[in-house]
Assembly symmetry: D5
Homo-oligomer: 150 residues x 10
């Protein structure tokens, strides 16, 4: 009763290990809990609280115990991980923002006025697009516009 709740990073490591050993894809898991793909991966890595029923299904599928369920359900603190930002696969997104971020800001203000794209009322889509010159990664950020409103 007095043990602390398992850290979400530990739960994520257990989920990853079980997922690989059982040959399940992230898509398999997303389907099993009937949730969007990017949301599912992000939540199981610890970035979103997972509803109890979905957490239970995930742990049943992967053969993980109640401690993992309890960890998944807990409200996360979403700390930015500066170290992993240097991973080349993730870094390219940051580089794209360095190059195109100010342009996106100009266009948001031109189209919508003073405000932001919400990162909370927000979803991300991931897709593969076939291309004869080499297939492409297509990521869509879709967030509600919020105007500065006093």
């Amino acid at each position: 009763m007095t043990a602390p709740i398992m850290p979400k990073s530990d739960a994520a490591e257990l989920i990853i290990a079980a997922r690989i050993r059982q040959g399940l894809s992230w898509s398999d898991l997303a389907e099993r809990i009937d949730a969007p793909l990017v949301w599912t991966v992000s939540a199981l890595l610890g970035q979103h609280p997972v509803p109890a029923d979905k957490a239970t299904v995930v742990c049943e599928v992967l053969g993980l115990g109640d401690g993992v369920i309890e960890s998944l359900v807990r409200q996360p603190t979403r700390v930015a991980d500066d170290a992993s930002a240097s991973d080349p696969t993730i870094y390219r997104f940051h580089e794209a923002l360095a190059v195109y971020g100010p342009a996106l800001k100009e266009l948001i203000h031109e189209e919508f006025g003073d405000g932001i794209m919400s990162a909370i009322n927000f979803k991300v889509d991931f897709a593969r697009r076939a291309d004869p010159d080499g297939d492409r990664v297509v990521i869509t950020f879709d967030g509600k516009f919020l105007d500065y409103r006093w």
Copy 2:
């Protein structure tokens, strides 16, 4: 003949000032040079070299001199501007990457194997999507997958 080339940040400030004073939108400029919208804004802000013919059109439209053309044409050094990353409109993109970046990495590897989404063979699209709950900003990153290949 011995003056240095105008810095791209100075050229951008002149373009912004002339654009606002003449009531031209970024879309107007993009149409005039027949170029994609996000590319146009990014290039005029200094992140891409601008072909001489397009640079000439922009400066004619805005009434700017040859020094601006010369600056636009020059190959840029694309330095990341850490200060502007704290602007709330730009920050939300970085926050979204902090939350979803590791998930996108997992999905890229699951779908494509070991590699990255190129930020060079790459395009960005900006759109407004009407929504009864409040219109939405939709940003699409579209980059060629590059596999680690020795």
Copy 3:
């Protein structure tokens, strides 16, 4: 026509100088443009675009030229100023967040669920409260709750 727009930091310095020399308070300026007090100060310091009619009134009152109006109207980039965060008057707010921020996060989640207090649909109020033990500064942050919504 080809001069850049005056930086907002320069406009702010001119407004401050004229305000002091004419013996006007920030409250006087806020009343003249019929705007909330904290919003007015923040906007004139460069953190919000100022509607053209209000910018015109401010510059008439303070005897400032059209260049200042043009600067005030422009969409700002809201860069965090890390240096001024060490000013003792401002630092105390950061210290309070260091001490109470995690507690506020717990309470937001307990009361509202997973999400944030918006800093965009948001207002700040400043007041003085008399107290026999020494008058008090009372700052109220009032922001719309936004729940994480996919």
Copy 4:
């Protein structure tokens, strides 16, 4: 006798785990020890020394041992946790300070003269305000003004 005192971060993790497992809210705990809500959460997270009687009640309610009581009672070192400042729920407060901090400084000096709002003789209030456009988080900082006095 020679074991070190349990770190406050460990005590906080045990309190959080027990609180969640027993279905108690922070408000429940605050009521049981008859203390202000924000103070209670902050103190149990380790930011304030807890009086022995209150610490004893908390640990009885939650079924925690004497080691937790001893930890709660100890004088804390209040180290700023830069990592958690990137959590979106906490970050919004920092962003608000970046935007409005200099304005608040101007208004404190206009109203009170040279000095600061104390972060020691200080309290914070948390409230929910119903709003047809979406309920709002209302945070009030209330600190004694201290003038620079030699």
Copy 5:
């Protein structure tokens, strides 16, 4: 009328130059304005607003113009100068705090309870103490104790 107020760092440089050229000591200036020595130096370097009468006397003595007076009177933003902290004469104070700061914290809490020494209701004294083994610098920090009080 539209010129910005002279920055306090510029005013300080002019005061230093005039002081040296006229062979006046800081003590001379402190006596002339009847103010404590450390306060005087600190205020003339830009860390405190200087009352108008004292600013006028300083500028008369040093032959400086009204722009310097206006600058001295203005409310400062007290930004920490990290660069000058590496000057050996200033660094020794920081080193002493690194070595003795935690001990001073323990003693403040033992003697006064939970709280701080105010840096606002605060004064600093500077003295030379003769010593056969080499004269000594004696600096006294004297601040009101403030207890954490909700």
Copy 6:
């Protein structure tokens, strides 16, 4: 024989725990080893090597073992702890140095010439001074002046 020496931070945690559990003050310990108060606290926290006889007395009084004695006697590496510098009780000293450090440097040079106050041939005194407006913390830094001497 091959175990490493106990780290000084572990020894300090054991001393603190035993001191609190036995209800001994730092002053009590200082008296028992006949040493200055600030030196005693600082040394027991790990900032100074403790002579073997004094270390033995401390450990006898507190009921601690030989491992603690061995740790206290060892020559320390005095690493600056940047994290604890954000504790409000310690931070106020740093803030005071940010405000008054350059003034102290000016006065040291005016009084003594080019050089520094030693932080090695140096002592610190801590005192409480009664004051009807609230008691005060008085800290005295007393260091030998060292002139730059080739």
Copy 7:
């Protein structure tokens, strides 16, 4: 089944220990798995996923268990290790880039136009070149040119 996968840094330490104790060179290992030398070292240190058959051979040769194989096969996160960048042997490469990086950028653009040398479609060669004045280290970076292409 529920244990996490061994971290790649642990696997690397085991490989290094077994390699040294058995007197095998990196070249021996590269030959045994029929892979390029630099790739082999980099992959075994954790920077590339290792195909299962090669991982199996390595662990058979070195007498390591299945846990190491599983770790080697896993997709890595390639985090930049800033600490090891200060090692003199590695630092010289960074210093060379500081001195020659901008020149290489100029030459890439002159020869190829706007774009980059890929670090993904990329290989590195290591060689020793005999020289009467002292043998030389010869490192060749060989990456596909990628042009900025919208």
Copy 8:
């Protein structure tokens, strides 16, 4: 006679402007001064002192004055430019070092023993290699091995 020497960054900007305006390539300049290509670019950008005769030829070719010659000849301080390290063309080299640096260190020690590749007795070669899959950038680092020698 009393003017300071032109900063090397100013000289580089003048050289770049004249080079572009006259349609000369870096190779043209290298040939004119009979020097290696990478060395030439690096030296004209300010990273190496340029012998007086070569500096004179460059300035004659480009129509630049004696101030540029004097600047080129001066011994440089080779300060690392962290900002330009984020330019994508330069960043790829740093990324390659992050991925392969530790492997290169292992191989240098295996082949040569304890020591480094000199970055002083060192040369860099730049080449284009045709490849049906896309031409390649080939950079060769060639430095004398220096063993740790007491």
Copy 9:
């Protein structure tokens, strides 16, 4: 056989503990292995690989096991320890470099031309020089000059 090699920092702690407990000085150890004094201390602290015969002697003298020998013999990664740079005894060297480093650079170039003092073909000497005004620490850096040579 599959245990990792003991980290050099652990080996150093064991050597230090055994050295102190047996009352041996660093000079004693240097004599026993017939090696220069500064080299010996540095190598035993983990900065140089130790030849197997010398490592064996050290461990025999100190009564340490084969794990320590294996650790000492291993090639080190020489990571700069920024934390210990704030120790006052070490900091004074850094301060001296801040004050005199640019002067030493000027003199190296004046005397030798463009190049560096090697830190690899390099030795350090430590001595005590008696002085009636207080004994002095004398440190000599002695490194081969390397000229920039293409």
Copy 10:
């Protein structure tokens, strides 16, 4: 009379320019003012106040005006220049300290007890030592030992 004193960095640039144009070495200047070589260079670069008579001689020799004399005489703030620390000639000293600093600390304590080598009562010597294997740079740090003394 109201101009600020010339910054020491400007004075240094003028001294360097005049020195180079007149073909004078640093040794020439040191001889002319009868001062130690390293001290002279350091002082003229702005790290030490220069006695008025020596400053006058330097400026007469170099044909510089009174503004330079006034600047040289002024008490400096000795700010550490982190940027120039990356210059390879200066960096090697920092690298040597990273490798040998902890060893020097051990030896200072072994020989002298707890304390430091003063960087104030301190001198540096620069010499060239002929060596058939390549001449060597020999730098000697010579500082008074200061023991921690309460």
